[in-house]
């Protein structure tokens, strides 16, 4: 161990002396290698940032991989049958969707259409309906109403805890409790976009839900990050049904209808639901079930992209390696006497190879340090210039994986560029010094 350590130190000391003695050559080698290592760093950093931006919230909105999803159109007895079958189950959750406005009565919401709060223009505009002759605004009572303190959001009714399928991140307060009796004042958990609206506007807490028999007063329990960009609130289905007749959830055009999320093991529930829905008159071809594989699919796509770009970066790196190799071979040719002399004073062949490799490895590492530095500075500049245009770039830091990739690229380039010169150095005949 001590012997190995001594050789390692010796190769580093002599390699460092070699670099200092040939500063210009080392600099030129670094220049030839720089673009390649920088390309690797940039590709890896880009891939990591894209991964974070695209995959971080994917499970919140699309569900965990393996989750079985059933989509049902809200027609006939579909909704009541589904709610009845899934009531009280822990391995499956039904989601209904309704439009709701919370705030001053009789005013137009600040984000008409349920758009993001900060969006210029105040939301998506009035809700529309389309038929064969064209699209028209729905008469939802907002037309002609004065603008006031009210927020439009998507009200999502749940039969159970959805977080087993969509792992919402808690922000404040608490999540819905599905254990106790339903409350007459619907308990809501807001998403962050809705919470933003409620922190910006002091709205009176009256909730208007399309099709509801009256306007209840909601209780807000907490806030979660559900990965959504539009304001939404989650509520127990049974609390929503206190005010919203189940018939008004059927045949309407508010929201995507009914969505059922099931764990992979809940095959029995799926069979029962299919059978009950078919018996209630829902055509078999209107019951769509699919398994969520979004994360895996997107990860695969991103990985393919990453490898394609890394391949291109490797080509650029290869050109740099050729540069180092060229300089290395020329340098060994010039240092034949030095290497022969070192062998004469007892330096083993392995250490001679190690000295040459140490020089190219140190060159590679120095280049990697420069490339990583350039990457960090470049990312900061990019964030300063474009950060405000792309919200997903907010809070992005230089990924450590890119730094590791840069170091690995520098080391690999050093090894590839130094290996052949190292072997040549080790094979220099010792008698060269005698014949000189």
């Amino acid at each position: 161990m001590i012997r190995l350590s001594g050789r390692l130190r010796a190769s580093l000391i002599i390699g460092g002396q070699g670099i200092r003695a040939r500063k210009l050559r080392t600099f030129l080698s670094m220049v030839s290698l720089f673009l390649g290592v920088l390309a690797v760093v940039v590709v890896q950093a880009g891939a990591e940032i894209a991964n974070r931006a695209m995959l971080a919230d994917i499970e919140l909105s699309q569900g965990k991989d393996g989750t079985r999803q059933m989509y049902l159109s809200p027609e006939g007895r579909t909704v009541p049958v589904a709610l009845e079958v899934l009531e009280g189950r822990t391995d499956s959750v039904a989601m209904t969707s309704a439009r709701a406005i919370i705030g001053e009565p009789g005013v137009k919401p600040i984000n008409e259409g349920g758009g993001p709060i900060d969006q210029s223009g105040g939301g998506y505009g009035p809700n529309m309906t389309c038929d064969q002759s064209g699209c028209y605004p729905i008469n939802d009572g907002n037309a002609g109403a004065p603008e006031g303190q009210a927020v439009e959001l998507q009200l999502i009714g749940l039969t159970g805890d959805i977080r087993q399928f969509r792992p919402f991140r808690p922000s404040q307060g608490q999540w819905l409790d599905f254990g106790g009796e339903p409350s007459l004042a619907p308990r809501l958990v807001l998403n962050e976009e809705a919470a933003k609206a409620f922190s910006q506007y002091h709205v009176p807490a009256e909730m208007r839900v399309d099709g509801a028999t009256a306007n209840p007063t909601p209780q807000i329990l907490g806030v979660v990050d559900d990965g959504g960009y539009q304001p939404a609130a989650y509520v127990r289905s049974d609390e929503l049904l206190n005010w919203l007749p189940v018939t008004s959830m059927s045949g309407g055009n508010s929201g995507p209808g009914l969505q059922v999320l099931m764990s992979p093991a809940a095959i029995e529930v799926e069979h029962i639901l299919r059978a009950r829905l078919t018996a209630a008159g829902t055509p078999e071809d209107r019951i769509h079930v699919q398994t969520v594989e979004t994360l895996e699919r997107m990860s695969t796509e991103l990985a393919i992209m990453r490898w394609i770009f890394l391949g291109m970066a490797a080509l650029v790196l290869l050109i740099g390696v050729a540069g180092i190799l060229n300089v290395g071979l020329a340098t060994v040719g010039e240092r034949i006497e030095e290497f022969a002399l070192r062998r004469a004073v007892g330096t083993p062949r392995l250490l001679l190879a190690g000295i040459v490799l140490a020089e190219t490895l140190l060159t590679g590492l120095l280049t990697a340090a420069l490339a990583i530095g350039a990457g960090v500075v470049g990312l900061k500049l990019a964030l300063t210039m474009f950060g405000s245009r792309f919200p997903s770039l907010e809070g992005v830091a230089f990924p450590w994986q890119a730094g590791v990739a840069g170091v690995v690229a520098g080391l690999v380039a050093g090894i590839l560029g130094g290996l052949i010169p190292a072997l040549r150095a080790a094979r220099i005949p010792i008698a060269t010094v005698m014949r000189a």
Binding site: R9, G346, R349, M434
Partner: protein
Amino acid sequence: MTTSPLLVPAALQPPLINLIGVTKTLKGQDQPRTILAGVDLTVHPGDSVAILGRSGSGKSTLLSLIGLFDRPDGGQYLLGDRDITKIPERKAAALRSAEFGFVFQRFFLLKHLTAAQNVAMALVNGQGWLPRRKRKAKVLAALERVGIGHLAKHKPPRLSGGEQQRVAIARALVREPRILLADEPTGALDTDTGNLVVDVLRQATEQGCGLVLVTHDHDHAAKMGRVLHLSDGVLNPVPQRVVV
């Protein structure tokens, strides 16, 4: 209790190296050429041996065999009582580091290193590790020994030929070798400087080191304890009076 090599006549001490009937044939593009055809040579501690001979007679080849740069084709090579005739390269490197010091006609100093760093080259060679402070002390001691301690920080281009050769001798001595091999060390120096260098080499033998000097200069050879002449691949003793 050990006896100092200086107090016992060299011939009575066990030999440092013993070559018995060593042969070497060079195989080039032409016919194989026998360079050494049965060389016998014994060097004891404190011995100084000069080898004379015409150019191409095989003096440097003999020195490269002694210094384990190359291996003999036949015969036997004993280092102390150990047979190293066919020693593998890895072990030979360790022996070159521990047992031998080399001085060449050209000094082979690295221009980008200081005199001290050039001497330290023999210590930073992967054969054991010395801490920086100990290394520095040994290097300075070696430079002082050859009388140029004050030039430790000078780089070779700023040194004279004699000073450069003395740096090379310090490099050869820094590991305190048992055998010093010098291949025409004065070939590139003027007479006075050459004499100075030979004196420095001779001083090393006074501390028990064996010296084998290959030279063309009869005056320098005459300063050695024994003079041998290499011709037709065989070493023959030359009487001192003939040398002078």
